[in-house]
Amino acid sequence: MADVEGCNIPEDRYYWIEKHVWAKPEGEYIMVGLTDVAQSLAGKIIVVNLKAAGKTLARGKSGGTLESGKWVGSIPTPVAGEVIEVNAAVKSHPSLVNEDPYGEGWLLKVKPNNWDEDAKALETGEEGVHAYREKLVHDGIHCRA
């Protein structure tokens, strides 16, 4: 787990840095969630609304919404494919997204149409963490005081 500007940015994720979402292959499926940066920017998340399992999403389309007080934001999916499962736990306990964004706070499990192609547009490994650091520094984002 890399600490970048106070944010946890693990090297084993594939990041869509501009959108602050991550993807991670698990077997034939791709897990999708928000980054630590996103949950930090959002503040205390009180509602998670996810597209239903069975929906087909194009890359970049909304996989759901998050609400924290008066703010509401979308969850752009970094991978095209069919939603196989949504995390029921975060719907009943939205704070899991704040507390464990890379673990229990995952959001969608997607059966990808073409992961190899989508992965090319994402950043991962040491280079991914470096690119994320540049983004955070550029935008003046810091996760924790």
Partner: protein
């Protein structure tokens, strides 16, 4: 249009005279737009007053609350792609012209609003 994309129409009638009613329609419209739906808001009767330049910046949604202004909710809705339409006769009712309002998609007459409602999958009025 994909069958997954629904048309949402929000019709607003309450204006700045009841501030605490102002934000929720914009919030709901925003959530629908962020789910990639096609979302329009129609402002009629006193609601047109919410769009007058300078009003939203000053309108505090909850007296004694966190100080949130209506402008925050309007910006959030616009960023999400929500479309704003103004009922033409309401301009006179609110003593203004289109030039007095923030940017919208334009004015609509009574027939157009009825057609929009007819074509929408969901109509919600406030």
């Amino acid at each position: 249009m994909s069958s997954d994309i629904k048309k949402y129409l929000y019709i607003l009638t309450t204006g700045p005279e009841i501030a605490y009613r102002a934000a929720s329609p914009f919030f709901l419209a925003t959530t629908a737009a962020l789910m990639d739906h096609d979302v329009s808001m129609v402002f009629t009767i006193r609601a047109t007053g919410l769009l007058k330049r300078g009003v939203a910046e000053e309108l505090t949604v909850k007296e004694g609350g966190d100080g949130a202004r209506l402008q925050f909710f309007i910006d959030q809705a616009r960023d999400a792609g929500v479309k704003f339409f103004v009922c033409a006769p309401s301009l006179d009712l609110n003593d203004c012209t289109l030039d007095d309002l923030i940017e919208t998609e334009g004015v609509v007459g009574g027939s157009a609003v009825n057609e929009m409602a007819l074509e929408a999958d969901v109509v919600i009025s406030f």
